[in-house]
């Protein structure tokens, strides 16, 4: 895969991981992970609990620091230099399993605070941007409410809008629907499908296989800190080559 | 049969505890003398000054032998034996300040107390005296005499009013020597300071009171009180006339 990298124009490569490792003390959460994501590509990441999926995407916007290998985002390598990190983070939006909306701020404030502090956008413009994305996730009427007043699905859509307000090049999703009631899952997935159609570069950790089938360019399977298998969704689900992948897919699809 | 006796235990040289834990002082000697004569054992209870009378009334002990002056106000609440020691007050202040607190007749000059911070013990006869004579005085109230000397030395009060015998012994001839002195004459108005210091007891114990008064008179007659005083001072601190009924 490293060879392949040089074949693409650098401009086309949005995320590049070269032999990335991550240790927590003794424990190796990521082992020699290499990966390349092109601009506009949609990746779905799956795998058993503890396999390192969250760790992987958290390394990509440096919520965790990788301990070996190289990570290059849109041509910028992630190193220890803080300046760079905030610049990179601006390009990478992230949506968490548990929404993590700021509970003491209205929805609108949630959407404008980072714009104002990080991008120094003037108040008025920040509000316009916020309303634009709130419309996009179909809840402009909730702008003046507080997070607890919204349902889980609405909160997660706000979280997505909040990330979009920073106009990132890349969106990372870490099990965005797994904390939701069954009925609310689809409204969030709808928004994500919509984003995908717009050409956003996305990495999404999820076990929603319907979603994977309809939007993913590649599905990847992780286990024990390694990328074990990847492929386009149809062949991946129909004919997993790897033993472990097959077992996992059987388990989550059987019932 | 024993009686419980309340005292401060920090009021040297009248009642105080030595570092090996023994109670000593003039009050203690008097107490022991009375105990021998009336044939009752005493047990000592230490109590802060401001709670002395409430504690007696609440039966925390049966007698107060703690250098308590016999005053009319106190007599409304408790009974006293006949006196066993003089009761006077005197102001102590820094050497060399010509404060002119008293006129020639020994009366306080009200204006000259202005701006002075005056230390007295809470619930003492000195406090009563100031409240009556100089109601505007800036009084600082202490729970114990020793704390008052400390604060005088530290400059937290300008003068204090206290028992001259005690001040002489515990302060003026010790730490305060050369720096502090008596200011003005002894103040001795029976209206405030009473006829002297006596043993306090709850009302309604007339028999016991009379026994104790008799014992005190006996101590005077036998020269015991003089003996106790001379252990500490070069002079006696009672009036021989008190030996008469």
């Amino acid at each position: 895969m490293i060879e392949a990298t040089f074949m693409n124009k650098p401009n086309d490569t949005m995320i590049q991981l070269i032999g990335v490792g991550k240790r927590f003390g003794q424990f190796e959460a990521l082992k020699q992970v290499s990966l390349e994501v092109r601009r506009g590509e949609k990746i779905v990441l799956c795998g058993p609990s503890g396999s390192g999926k969250s760790t992987l995407i958290r390394c990509i916007n440096r919520m965790e620091e990788h301990t070996s290998g190289r990570i290059i985002i849109d041509g910028r390598e992630l190193t220890d230099r803080t300046k760079d990190i905030n610049a990179v983070r601006r390009e990478v939006g992230m949506v968490f399993q548990s929404f993590n909306l700021f509970p003491h701020m209205t929805i609108l404030k949630n959407l404008t605070i980072a714009q104002r502090l990080v991008r120094k956008t003037p108040e008025k413009e920040a509000k316009e941007v916020a309303m634009h994305y709130l419309k996009r996730v179909k809840i402009p009427e909730q702008a003046s409410k507080y997070p607890v007043q919204l349902s889980g699905g609405q909160q997660q859509r706000v979280a997505i809008a909040r990330a979009l307000c920073m106009k990132p090049q890349i969106m990372l999703f870490d099990e965005p629907t797994s904390a939701l009631d069954p009925e609310m899952i689809s409204e969030v997935l709808d928004v994500m499908v919509d984003l995908a159609r717009d050409g956003m570069t996305m990495i999404c950790v999820t076990h929603e296989m319907g979603f994977a089938r309809s939007v993913a360019d590649r599905v990847m399977f992780m286990d024990g800190g390694q990328l074990i298998e990847e492929g386009d969704p149809e062949t991946f689900f129909a004919n997993p080559r790897n033993e472990r992948t097959a077992l996992f897919l059987r388990q989550i699809l059987r019932h | 049969d024993t009686l419980r006796v309340g005292m401060e235990c920090t009021y040297a040289p009248f009642n105080y505890r030595t570092s090996d834990g023994k109670l000593e002082g003039y009050d203690v000697d008097v107490a022991k003398g009375i105990s021998e004569i009336i044939g009752v054992d005493f047990e000592y209870v230490c109590q802060e000054w401001d709670g002395m009378i409430p504690a007696l009334l609440a039966n925390k002990f049966d007698l107060i032998i703690a250098s308590m002056s016999i005053t009319d106000k106190r007599k409304e609440q408790i009974d006293f034996s006949s006196p066993y020691r003089n009761s006077v007050g005197r102001i102590v202040g820094p050497v060399g300040k010509d404060l002119k607190l008293f006129d020639d007749k020994g009366q306080p000059v009200v204006g000259n107390f202005d701006g002075l911070r005056i230390g007295v013990e809470r619930a003492s006869t000195y406090f009563e005296w100031f409240s009556a004579k100089l109601p505007k005085a800036d009084l600082v109230l202490y729970d114990s005499n020793e704390a008052m000397y400390l604060d005088l030395k530290n400059g937290r009060v300008d003068v204090i009013m206290t028992n001259p015998m005690k001040a002489h012994l515990s302060f003026l001839s010790g730490e305060g020597k050369g720096k502090y002195e008596f200011i003005g004459p002894e103040v001795n108005e029976p209206k405030f300071f009473g006829p002297g210091v006596g043993v306090g007891l709850r009302k309604g114990n007339d028999e016991l009171r009379d026994k104790i008064s008799a014992a005190i008179r006996k101590l005077i007659r036998e020269g015991k009180l003089k003996e106790y005083a001379l252990k500490i001072f070069p002079f006696q601190i009672h009036d021989d006339a008190w030996a008469e009924e």
Binding site: - | A12, R17, T18, S19, G21, G51, A55, N59, E146
Partner: protein, 232 residues
């Protein structure tokens, strides 16, 4: 430092007094706390009112006042009560040791009331439902499920209550209990070295607090041994 010569045995004896007060008031505090919590949790309105009055009064009144009240007031009220039954009674009285111990136990017990109440309510209702679903009766559920769980929840605040108790013992010097601060007052007046004398008291209390803190940590480890996750 030589000022301290001759006072060490007094401090030692006084420390023993502090320890005695601590133990007595600890036992009383647990009793008051449990009584208060039961009163507040009870469905009886009178009990509720008494429980509330108890916590409101003792949480709002300075400890020193409670001590003075109990020391001076107890004799007055106890005597009045006693005379109702036996007019020949002259005086009933609580000595400083007990007046002080009861006073600080009443104050800290009012805090413990809330702790115990919270711990009772804090036991996950899931465990209790499961016990009921298995057919266990109320008493069995109480002793096998509620109490062990509650104990774990109540322990950390309970440790704080013990620290409050030990520190409040210093206040009993005000009514003449011969404890460390009282010794220091006398020693300070005799030697003229107040700083030295009071620092010693501080160090003694620091020692007591440390011992209590360590014991509570050990007890917590014991109570929580079953929620230690497996090492991964």
């Amino acid at each position: 430092m030589e000022a301290l010569n001759g006072w060490w045995d007094d401090y030692l004896l006084a420390s023993v007094t502090v320890a005695k007060v601590f133990v007595c008031s600890l036992i009383l505090m647990v009793i008051f706390g449990l009584l208060g919590a039961s009163a507040k949790l009870s469905s009886n309105r009178l009990a509720n009112a008494v429980g509330n009055a108890y916590t409101v009064f003792f949480r709002g009144t300075p400890e020193i006042l409670v001590i003075l009240l109990l020391y001076f007031g107890s004799a007055v009220s106890l005597t009045t009560i006693a005379r109702v039954f036996d007019p020949s009674v002259a005086f009933v009285d609580i000595p400083p040791f007990w007046a002080g111990s009861i006073a600080i136990a009443l104050v800290v017990g009012s805090y413990a009331t809330e702790t115990f109440r919270g711990a009772f309510n804090g036991v996950k209702s899931g465990s209790i439902e499961a016990a009921r679903a298995l057919g266990m009766n109320g008493l069995q559920t109480f002793f096998y499920i509620r109490i062990p769980e509650m104990w774990r929840i109540a322990l950390p605040p309970f440790g704080n209550h013990m620290l409050s108790l030990i520190k409040d013992t210093a206040l009993i010097s005000i009514i003449g209990l011969n404890e460390t601060l009282f010794v220091a007052k006398q020693a300070a007046s005799t030697t003229g070295k107040p700083f030295t004398m009071y620092i010693v008291v501080g160090l003694i209390y620091l020692g007591f607090s440390t011992a209590i803190t360590i014991s509570v940590l050990l007890l917590e480890a014991l109570a929580n041994r079953h929620i230690q996750r497996r090492p991964s």
